[in-house]
Symmetry: C2
Subunit: 269 residues, 2 copies
């Protein structure tokens, strides 16, 4: 781990990231020793920092530090947290905050490659995401909703939970973005009120443009989802998982999902 560039396992106990979740983070895939999709990941990082009025760490610094941490490791996950740094007690942000950046590298989670080809079963979370347009889309550190939702089910055969918002709209997985395919078109939930707009979601949408495939951002309810031809979920750690089953939904063919998975897998090489 590197904390503000120095090898350390510790952060100041008065860091505002700990006190209030006053910060943002990102998780990136390391493959063949390189950070995947770095440019778009850094753009997202800068965007999220700006949304909270946090100073974003310099790109070259981050790349140098990640290279140092990755060393000769081939595969894994990299994580960066940026907080508003140490602060006085009290919610009000300091006049001249000094950001804290925490970079770490982790092994890939132990996930079955079976899911990639044959799809996953989802559980439906009881927890509903709240609406907060001011924070929607941002990968900030206030993630208790995700913690509670993800902890609702411990069955390894159900590796991801599906989350709805307070109005019953489908938002995505606890740690992933969701797409559905219907009549040859893609749809993905509107994340302007809650949810995290991840890099893989952006990539899929940009791919759709190159394929002249219609992809719409819109409210999706459970009935829409169950009537889908295909459903798939994406994140930077596992890539793309087709959804095999969920409530009354059961599919065993995922032609469009697997085509996109293949593209994501070779993109940025």
């Amino acid at each position: 781990m590197l904390v503000n560039g120095a090898a350390s396992q510790f952060v100041n106990a008065d860091d505002r990231g700990l006190a209030y979740g006053d910060g943002i983070f990102r998780t990136l895939r390391i493959r063949q020793g390189k950070l995947r999709n770095w440019s778009i990941q850094y753009k997202k990082l800068a965007h999220d920092c700006a949304a909270l009025n946090l100073a974003c760490p310099d790109e070259a610094t981050l790349l140098t530090e990640f290279r140092q941490l990755i060393g000769d490791q081939s595969d894994g996950l990299a994580k960066i947290i940026v907080t508003r740094g140490s602060g006085m007690r009290g919610y009000k942000t300091p006049e001249q905050p000094k950001s804290t950046r925490i970079l770490s590298v982790h092994p890939l989670p132990d996930q079955s490659p079976y899911f990639l080809k044959h799809g996953v079963a989802l559980f439906l979370c009881n927890l509903r995401f709240s609406h907060q347009p001011r924070l929607a889309g941002i990968k900030h550190l206030n993630r208790l909703e995700n913690v509670l939702a993800a902890s609702e089910c411990n069955d390894p055969k159900l590796p991801e939970g599906l989350c709805l918002d307070m109005l019953g709209h489908v938002i995505g997985g606890t740690r992933s973005n969701l797409f559905m395919v219907k009549d040859g078109e893609l749809r993905t939930p509107d994340l302007s009120r809650c949810g995290v707009a991840g890099v893989q979601r952006d990539l899929v949408m940009s791919w759709a443009v190159t394929q002249v495939l219609k992809c719409t951002i819109r409210d999706i309810c459970l009935d829409d989802l169950i009537a889908a031809d295909e459903i798939f979920i994406v994140n930077s750690a596992f890539g793309l998982w087709p959804v095999r089953s969920f409530q009354g939904y059961n599919r065993d063919r995922f032609p469009i999902s697997l085509r996109i998975q293949n593209w994501l897998n070779h993109e940025d090489e």
Copy 2:
């Protein structure tokens, strides 16, 4: 500062309190070297820990550690953070989490005693609190909404901001609970969808019972508030501040507020 009982300024950089805001906290007033309202503060701590399925630190341990930190300091603030401890990357809670507790002592904030007698002016926050019944009332570490709301105004003459929820209901201050007085009765916002239910709020409600004064928990809109005979805000740090002005509301007499302030001030002696 004491981290898990040991003098330290640091916590593990992989603490889930930092990663996800997966924890809770409380702020207590120290007066004459003692923690005010300890019993009810500890009950709240235990309640909030239980709400997040966190192990609550032992009461005797906390008291011993706070005594050590307070030493011969007479006045100040004490703070405790309890998190789900270090964890693997990933939202799902560890099977056997080991809580982290962080105890600290701080000087009293530099606040004018003028506010206590003559009241404060409030600003109205643009940020609206989101509805999350699963987390409402709990003093958890996901406090970005409070950070953003409190940071909207830097005028020291407006020491607290008033927050509404998404439906326009009055919830309270950015760091305080709110009461209004109307026709000799108390009203305080319903906090079952958002907000933090603080110890001073409980104390005022229990005081009302002893005075056979009606105190109702209900939705309050801005029009209700502006028509109030008195408004006051409470928290453990400043106690009770009458509200002198806010939008179209202006008052210079606060008989009931000052009576409650006097009681709060002498309570638990």
